[in-house]
Amino acid sequence: MALKGNVPIIALTGYSDLNFATRSISSGLSDYLIKEDLTPTILYKSVVYNIERYRYIKTIKESERRYSDLFQLSPIPMWVYDIETLRFLDVNQSAIRHYGYSKEEFLSMTIMEIRPEEEIAKLEEAIRNSKEKENHYFEGEFRHKNKSGREMIVDIRSNPINYGDRKAEVVLAHDITERVLHERTIEKQNEKLKDIAWIQSHVVRAPLARMMGLIKLLTDHAVPEGSEEEYLQHILNSAYELDEIIRELAGKTRQIKDKSEIE
């Protein structure tokens, strides 16, 4: 007999049916009263008590469902794994979508299997650390791979949780691959820009300052008689040097521009 619906049910039973009544509680019966002991007060109390209790249970179930939804419908992949066996105990829909394994496949796997081999040592260390500390909140960057073997960089947050009678960890795995790659590109560009800034302030002005000085000497007629040619040659050499530096800078700037266009 399956007892469902939105009302609490109280069974009336005799002494002879006591066993049956006790069993029925587990299949959804709210309470049972023994006919021989029935009094108006007992009946009244049972009715009021069971309505209240039923309302309370409903609240708990709703809250349970809310938490389950938070887990199942989270846009970020989540799972629960057993910290002893490392087996997946539960995974959410986003994890299934993102990693390409079905729920059944996940539940037959350990968390080692979504990692590239070179990450295993790092994972083992993280697990050792989290076992040593009680209630240890963990976060860090790891590399994972999905069913098709594509590697990704994930930001992991995990917390210990009791899952039934198992000690487990609940894990949030945010794929940050694109963000990290983007940051790396920007960092590389920054290096180049720093390089350019350094050349601008340290190298470009050297031949220019030389030219300014040499021209000043010529216009002030402060060069030894007959050495004008030599001074002009120095000016020309400095001009060539400046030209070369500017070409080099233009090359570096073009590299940055090309890079950002590819992005």
Binding site: S201, H202, V203, R205, A206, L208, A209, R210, M212, G213, L214, K216, L217, D220, A222, V223, H234, S238
Partner: protein, 134 residues
């Protein structure tokens, strides 16, 4: 007290130019030229005397021993009362300017090219002006 002007720069054109500029501004007819921090340091270590005033025009960016390293090396024996360093550089780097202000041997920071007019003005610089009055 006799005065020795030292030009320390790896760029020989700058040395040549500065000599001309010093000449035309009558700052010093015969400055000593060094094409690196190391050779200037060697000279000072052998000849440094408390009775001589040293006016140095020190380039910052030089290979091997740069201007800052040279300053560190002479700080142990050179005294601000007879050692007057003018940092010269063609670069525009605020960090260099700030650093020059922190060193007790450094009188001033000069941007290249240092022209005759600048040398003429330096003769009026309070810390060294007395060497040019006779």
């Amino acid at each position: 007290m006799n005065m020795i002007t030292m030009l320390i720069d790896d760029d020989e054109i700058f040395i040549m130019m500065s000599k001309r500029m010093m000449e035309s501004s009558q700052f010093d007819e015969q400055p000593l030229a060094f094409t690196g921090g190391k050779s200037a340091l060697d000279y000072l270590e052998q000849n440094y005397s408390e009775n001589t005033a040293y006016i140095m025009f020190l380039d910052i960016n030089m290979p091997q021993m740069n201007g800052w390293e040279f300053l560190n090396a002479i700080e142990g024996f050179a005294d601000p009362s007879n050692t007057f360093v003018f940092m010269t550089t063609s670069s525009i780097d605020d960090e260099d300017i700030a650093r020059a202000g922190e060193n007790t041997l450094v009188v001033k920071f000069l941007s290249k090219p240092v022209l005759s007019e600048t040398f003429a003005q330096l003769k009026e610089e309070p810390k060294i002006s007395h060497f040019f009055k006779n």
